[in-house]
Symmetry: C2
Subunit: 307 residues, 2 copies
């Protein structure tokens, strides 16, 4: 099992031919989740080969145009595609008001149910099958939320040899132990799951921190994550300007990943000013070596370690 | 002198790689005018080589997403480009409300003056240097306005030979006659401009009719136009479905151009259903031969006949 990440837009501020504005697609077991939805995200989706109909939910970090301007058009196109399934959208306060205005002006009249969720505070926002998405407040110029997708723990591996040694007959008793039940054998012995199951196996955790200055919320989202997607609008050394504008440097992002004990870092929200990506990367890798820079339409796979 | 038309988006409904959603750029004497602004119009502008900073005014036909969703992002990018000049935007009622919501949510905070004009009725809406833009109501599913750019008449050609025959001395008197003044020669004779000027020369007229069913407003916009840009979402023979959906067929567009006495017709707002463009064209050309179909980024030049 793995989760695929496809970067649909990796630039900051305004769309450029080589870097569109912010959007990240996360594909997990047939379902697609978008984090932010800048202008032309639907065109990038088409280019990526991902199926817009597979979108299950969209998570908006904040109401700056380069993170949300593609949403009305995407929903309009899903309507023309005759989508019937409901769509969940999470974002800051004001989300409902925006959609109300779009609806009343006729700019957007979705043909399917759009459930709007204004994030009220940190914690779980979306519950999926075998995972959930949680949010934390970030620190940007306006109300901003980061998100993290956390897979449920799976039960430990079933030790077949041990089960046989204990004299447990093959069949339904195996399943009951795997589901966490204590069973009683025909000879009266009780067997607990821990006698035949290895330690519980953690699921994957993927964090999205964009846009923000270094803050507790980002650290919490990134805690022990398998992958942290973090903005890096500025390069190491530009911390003062970056923080004044509510942004991070690539070194800030690396410090977040290191302090959070994360496994891997991918930088996004790259400014068009930075043509020398080596400089962006250097400042991060000296702090957190397992760092990469996203490119538009680049795909990354995050694999579970214990298959 | 000529006017350049660049089609930025020529599709209907949703953006496709080969046809983006609606926008037409009109370039005249260093100034750029946009008619509609669908999603990713700013990216198309970049691809076209036109300079977004040259935009003087934007005219919105109606509030369906595929005609307006690119506007917030375009203005956001003009702000990042440090634009200082004011920008005039014309559109249906609700334009101010839309911008108010975008402003209050922080989605769009222009860094320059944006003058919003809600069209109140037919007639002149924009006065430029040597031309104006007028509007007429179209007939679509929501409030919709078509636009026509009309250059001022220029004075007739100055007949130098005739002026010499009349004994008018070269110099400032020529200029006064060209400006329409009657002059008195030193021998007491009065010379009127009509004695030395040819007939007034009409300027160019370019009409934009999108989206609409056949209607008086479209006919009025197209009257004697040098170029009519008209939607053709459906092909000839599909009139019933077209009109039910508030749209025109290519034959409807051709009839409009013919009845209006226009010179040239370019069809746009082409549905992705119509892969056979010959069929779209055939239905129009049998009625109005001088018809073409727009393609994204295609450029057309409209020349004054009497240079």
């Amino acid at each position: 099992m793995s989760i695929q990440i496809v970067f649909l837009g990796t630039g900051s501020g305004k769309p450029m031919p080589q870097r569109n504005v912010s959007s990240v697609a996360l594909f997990r077991e047939g379902e697609l989740f978008l984090f932010d939805c800048g202008e032309a995200t639907q065109l990038q989706l088409t280019r990526s080969g991902l199926r817009p109909g597979a979108i299950r939910a969209i998570f908006l970090s904040h109401f700056h145009g380069d993170h949300v301007n593609g949403l009305p058009g995407l929903i309009g196109s899903l309507t023309l595609n005759q989508r019937e399934e409901a769509l969940d959208i999470y974002g800051p306060r004001g989300l409902r008001r925006w959609f109300k205005t779009l609806h009343e002006l006729h700019i957007l009249r979705p043909g399917f149910r759009v459930r709007l969720h204004e994030v009220a505070g940190p914690g779980k926002v979306f519950e999926g099958d075998g995972f959930h998405v949680a949010t934390q407040a970030l620190n940007h110029r306006v109300e901003t939320w980061g998100y993290t997708l956390i897979e449920d723990q799976r039960p430990g591996r079933f030790d077949l040899e041990q089960a046989r040694e204990l004299g447990i007959p093959s069949g339904p008793l195996f399943g009951r132990l795997q589901r966490g039940e204590t069973i009683t054998l025909s000879d009266g012995r009780q067997i607990t799951p821990s006698q035949v199951l290895g330690p519980a196996r953690p699921g994957l955790k993927i964090a999205y921190c964009c846009d923000t200055i270094p803050c507790e919320g980002a650290l919490e989202l990134a805690r022990d994550a398998d992958l942290v997607i973090h903005e890096a609008t500025y390069v190491a050394g530009e911390e003062r300007s970056a923080h004044q504008r509510g942004h991070s440097t690539s070194a800030d992002a690396a410090r977040c990943a290191r302090e959070a004990g994360a496994q891997r870092l991918i930088l996004t929200h790259i400014s068009q000013k930075h043509l020398d990506l080596h400089e962006v990367l250097r400042g991060a890798r000296s702090i957190f070596p397992n760092t990469e820079i996203a490119r538009d339409l680049a795909e990354f796979s995050v694999e579970r370690k214990d298959q």
